[in-house]
Subunit: 326 residues, 2 copies
C-alpha cells in the first residue's frame, strides 16, 4: 500500500510544481497575486492525479496528461472561488477565501481569469483528439455551473427528492471527477470500451466523493477538515444526509429537519443537534453504505481495463477516497 501512496504523492508533487509555474505574469498585481494564492493553496489534487492515472491505465504516459490534469484542477479552483462568494464561505483549506482576503470583485475576476488559464493549459496537451478533449472539458464547465445553479435553487426549497439531489451533485461535483477519468482516457488514446469503463469509474467515485463530503460536514474534526464543520446544516444545504433524514424522521425530529431545510431553525447549537439526530436516525450508516456501494461499483468498472499499475492505482485511489478525513 505504501508504494501506491508514494506514487500518488509523486504525481501530486509534479502537479503542485506545475501549478506553481502555470501563471506566467505578475501584473496586474490585483489579479495575479490572488490567482497564485488560489493555486498554491494545496488540496488533494485528486482530479489531476485521476487524469494522469486514467491515461496510464489505458497504456498512455501519465506525464503526457499532466497539462490537462492541471487544467482540470484550475477549472475546479475557479469554481471554488466563485462558489465561495455565493455561499458566503470565509474559509477554505484553513485559509481565508479570496473574497474574504481581498473582495468580491477581485474574486469574480480571478475566477474568470482562472478559467482562461485552464483552457490555455489544456491546449498544451499533445493529442490528435483535440476537439474531443476540449468538448469534454467545456461540457464540464457547463455542467458544473448548472450543478451550482441547482444547488442554490434547492437551498431555497423546503425539500428535494433523493433523485433531485443525486442529479444536482452529479453535475456540481461528480462531473469534474468523471471528466478527469474521461480526459485521461482521451489523452491515452483509449478505445471506446476503456473510455466507457473510465467514465463509469469517474461517475461512481465522483458521487461517492460528494456523499463523503456531505458526511464529513457532520463527522469531521474542524482542523483536519479545513473549513467549518456543520456549515452545510447552518446553510440549509440539501445534502445527502438531510435528504435521507427527511425521508426517515418523524414527529419532532421531522419538524426540526424541516426547519433546517427551510432556514427556520434557531442557529444556536443547531449543528451539534442535527449531527446527533443524524447519528440517532442511522443516517451516517446509510451514507457510509451509499459511499461503499459507489466505490465498489467504481472499482468493478475497472474490469474492462488492461492489468497494470494504472488500473491498480485507480483501485487504490477509490479506497483511499473512502477513508479520507478531509
Amino acid at each position: 500500500m505504501s508504494t501506491q501512496r508514494d506514487y500518488y504523492q509523486q504525481l501530486r508533487r509534479l502537479i503542485d510544481e506545475r501549478l506553481a509555474t502555470v501563471i506566467e505574469r505578475d501584473e496586474p498585481v490585483s489579479m495575479y497575486e490572488p490567482a497564485r494564492y488560489v493555486l498554491q493553496g494545496g488540496g488533494k489534487r485528486i482530479r489531476p492525479v485521476l487524469v494522469m492515472l486514467a491515461c496510464e491505465a489505458v497504456g498512455g504516459d501519465p506525464i503526457q496528461a499532466i497539462e490537462a490534469g492541471v487544467a482540470v484542477e484550475i477549472l475546479h479552483n475557479f469554481t471554488l472561488v466563485h462558489d465561495d462568494i455565493m455561499d458566503n464561505a470565509d474559509t477554505r483549506r484553513n485559509r481565508d477565501t479570496v473574497h474574504k482576503k481581498w473582495d468580491s470583485n477581485v474574486a469574480i475576476l480571478v475566477g474568470d481569469e482562472l478559467m482562461g488559464i485552464a483552457y490555455k493549459t489544456l491546449l498544451n496537451t499533445k493529442t490528435d483528439r483535440l476537439h474531443e478533449l476540449i468538448s469534454v472539458f467545456t461540457d464540464g464547465v457547463i455542467e458544473v455551473c448548472e450543478g451550482q445553479s441547482y444547488d442554490k435553487e434547492f437551498e431555497a426549497l423546503p425539500s428535494v427528492t433523493e433523485e433531485q439531489y443525486l442529479m444536482m451533485i452529479s453535475k456540481k461535483t461528480g462531473w469534474l471527477v468523471a471528466i478527469s477519468a474521461h480526459i485521461g482516457a482521451i489523452i491515452g488514446s483509449a478505445d471506446a470500451r476503456c473510455t466507457q469503463a473510465l467514465l463509469s469509474y469517474g461517475r461512481h467515485i465522483g458521487r461517492a466523493f460528494q456523499v463523503q463530503d456531505d458526511l464529513l460536514d457532520s463527522v469531521a474534526e474542524a482542523e483536519t477538515f479545513g473549513k467549518p464543520v456543520g456549515a452545510d446544516i447552518l446553510e440549509g444545504k440539501k445534502t445527502y444526509l438531510l435528504v435521507k433524514a427527511l425521508q426517515c424522521a418523524e414527529g419532532e425530529d421531522l419538524e426540526l429537519l424541516r426547519a433546517v431545510a427551510s432556514h427556520n431553525a434557531k442557529r444556536e447549537g443547531l449543528a451539534t443537534q442535527v449531527r446527533a439526530l443524524y447519528a440517532r436516525l442511522g443516517i451516517l450508516e446509510i451514507a457510509k453504505k451509499k459511499i461503499a456501494e459507489d466505490t465498489a461499483a467504481a472499482i468493478a468498472s475497472l474490469n474492462a481495463l488492461p492489468d497494470g499499475n494504472g488500473r491498480e492505482m485507480l483501485v487504490w485511489l477509490a479506497d483511499m477516497l473512502l477513508d479520507r478525513t478531509n
Copy 2:
C-alpha cells in the same frame, strides 16, 4: 452605402437568430432564463459581424464563421454581465442589468455559464486550424480579464499616463475586437500577411471604438446611449478624455479633474460640469482626432487584402463605427 448597411443588417439578423437558439436547455431556470435575457438584449453585434467579414475578406465563406462570431459575442456578453456587477451598473442597453434584475450570485453564475457556452459554440466551427482558433479565443479571455483588472486598479489611482490608459483599453475592449478579425482570418484560411493585416485593422478599430465610447459618455443623449450618460465621470473612470484633460488643465480646472479622478468631487452636477470643461479645453476635439486617426490606420491596414466585398465592408464598418451615437 445603403447596400452595405443592408448587408450588415443581414449578417446581424443571422447572428441574432443564432443567438436565439444557442442556449438549448431550459433548466435550471435560475440560470437559463437570465442567460437568454442577456443574449437577447440586442446590441450592434459588431464583433460577430467582424468575424464574418474578416473571413469573407480573405476569400472564405462568411457563413462558415458564424459559430465563431456568435462565440465571441457570447464571450463579450459574459464580460458585460460580470463587469456590471463590479461597476455597480444598473442599466445596460436600456434594460436592468442581470445582478439588478436577479442578484449578484445569479449574475456571477450566468457569466460563468456563458463562457462555457461560448467555447461550446466555438467548437462548432469547421476548420483545420482548431488549435490556433481556440488559442486566440482563450488569449482573448485572459486579456479581457487583465484589462478589467487594470481598469479597477486605475480607478483607485489619482492619475494614470496616456500609455497606461492605452494599454488598459487595448486589453479590456480592443482585444476582443482584434481577435474577431483574427478569428475570421483563421477560419477563412488566411496566409500570414492577410492575418497580420486583419489583426492590425482589428487593433486600430478596437481602440477607436473604445475612445469613441469614452467620448459618448460625455456627449451622447441618454436615450440613444442605452446607459446613463456621464457615468464614467461619476465613477472616476480613467477614460481617454480624463487622461488628456489632466494633461491640459491648469488651476481650478486641474483641481476639479484631480478631485474627479480621486473620487473626491461633489457628485451633484458633476457630470454636466466636467462635460462642459472637456468642451472648453478642446478635449472632445482631441478625442475625435484620435478616433479618426485610428480609423484611418485601420482602413490603411486593409491594403494588404484582396479586393472584394469583404474588404469594402470592413472599410464601411470602420467608418460606421466612427459615426455611431451609441
